[in-house]
């Protein structure tokens, strides 16, 4: 079982199991492959949840404003191999959750011929 974490993933429980508040506007997207132990958690920050109006993008597809809504800040990937460099690049360039979900398979680092990552049909919307 392999495990990759990148960026910031807030602690949810204190040492005595009291819930901790990760702060305002911090949400996460989570999917667990049915029948397997692999799961992917993507933490993003922003009020819109990606469904509101799109933030302004520059010519490289980056969100420019430091105050832009809905940018991914952390990854917790359980099972499979993931390239943290690609994930950190997305965090640095303030990518949105829909963008990251569309491109997540590019960060896969499994051996060649391994199955490509896909969103499970029961996963929450971006």
């Amino acid at each position: 079982m392999e495990y990759t974490t990148a960026g910031w993933v807030p602690v949810r429980l204190d040492w005595d199991n009291t819930p901790l508040d990760p702060g305002p506007d911090v949400r996460d997207w989570f999917q667990r492959s049915p029948g397997r132990f692999d799961s992917q958690r993507i933490v993003y920050k922003g009020g819109s949840g990606g469904t509101g109006e799109s933030p302004q993008l520059d010519e490289r597809g980056r969100i420019h404003s430091a105050r832009a809504n809905d940018r991914v800040v952390g990854f917790n990937m359980l099972g499979g191999r993931w390239n943290h460099e690609v994930m950190l690049d997305w965090i640095d360039s303030r990518r949105s959750l829909p963008f990251v979900l569309d491109h997540l398979a590019e960060a896969q680092f499994d051996e060649e011929l391994s199955p490509r990552w896909r969103r499970s049909s029961s996963a929450p919307p971006a």
């Binding site: 392999e2 990759t4 960026g7 910031w8 702060g23 920050k45 430091a66 800040v73 952390g74 191999r81 390239n83 943290h84 460099e85 690609v86 950190l88 690049d89 965090i91 640095d92 360039s93 590019e106 680092f109 499994d110 051996e111 060649e112 011929l113 391994s114 199955p115």
Partner: protein, 356 residues
Amino acid sequence: MQAGLMDTYHRPVQSRGIVAWILCAALVAFYLLIYYTSAFEGPARRLGLGDKWTLYGLLYTAAMVLGGIYFLRRHGNSRYQRVRTITVVAVQVLLAFALPIVMKVLGRQEYYFTYFWPLKIEYFYPSVILQQPFLIVLYSFLGSLVAFPLLGYFLGKRFYCSWICGCGGLANTAGEPFRHLSDKSPAAWRFEKVSIYTVLAVAVITTVIVGLNWAVGKQHPAFSSFAFGVQHWYGLVVGGFFSGVLGVGLYPLMGTRVWCRFACPMAAVLGLVQKFGRFRITVKKDMCISCGNCSTYCEMGIDVRAYAMANLDVKRAACVGCGMCAHVCPRGVLKLENKPDRFKGGTPIRVYAVDL
């Protein structure tokens, strides 16, 4: 002790113990007998196999099938290793063993569709070319001069050395228990660079001399006898002694790819193409824990760990792309890739303190 992947390497036969030396002597003796004497002609005929080379092909193929089963039991949990091993064994069974026999039974001259010049040097000798149908000559030339350099550029030499070639196939199946014995020292690397390109140069020169002899040999008897000598000695030393006697005989002492690493002219050509091609082993930055599994498992003697620790992608002419370094890496640091590099021209500037 828990029987992990590394544990088996402490057996005497896998760590140059006395059993390994006996096995090496037995393999060398077998190869000397089958290559240079007719000791196996009798047994071959009694088994109804015609000649000793068919018997040798049968033994070789059986070793690859059994070794393939052994390999898949150990490493078959990886899809890359599964597909690769099944492919290389199937190619040996069908194209390098069954098809030549079928051709011989049908009264045609046997032809090995999996071997090309300069590994199979005689396929560029005029006397052999003139005996072949035009389509086979076309296949051989297009393969050697066009398809192989192109495939080597885009896929690396692994498309041949790890997926098709019988020499590599035996190394990766029956030779699997000995892959860790390859010498990882810089001295071995220096020796490899001299020896493999020397053999390539000798192979090219031999081909040219034999070709010239076909063109002008009749007018120059002295040159003709010299050319026959060169052809004879190349077959004896490189084709027989290096690839067979030493190539397989030294498995238990020097690892499985002695021939591929130090002497194969095809590996030399494809290695040069690979060095300037797309294939590489991508290293995930700052993730190596220096356990050394990758270097231990490298059959070509590449010190993969040194690259991983230095955050450098592995781009070596020697790498045959067996994929075992990536397979045994406990941190998933390595990946064989053909795709253009995502971070070419330097990694992006990293903001570690994420502004929240």
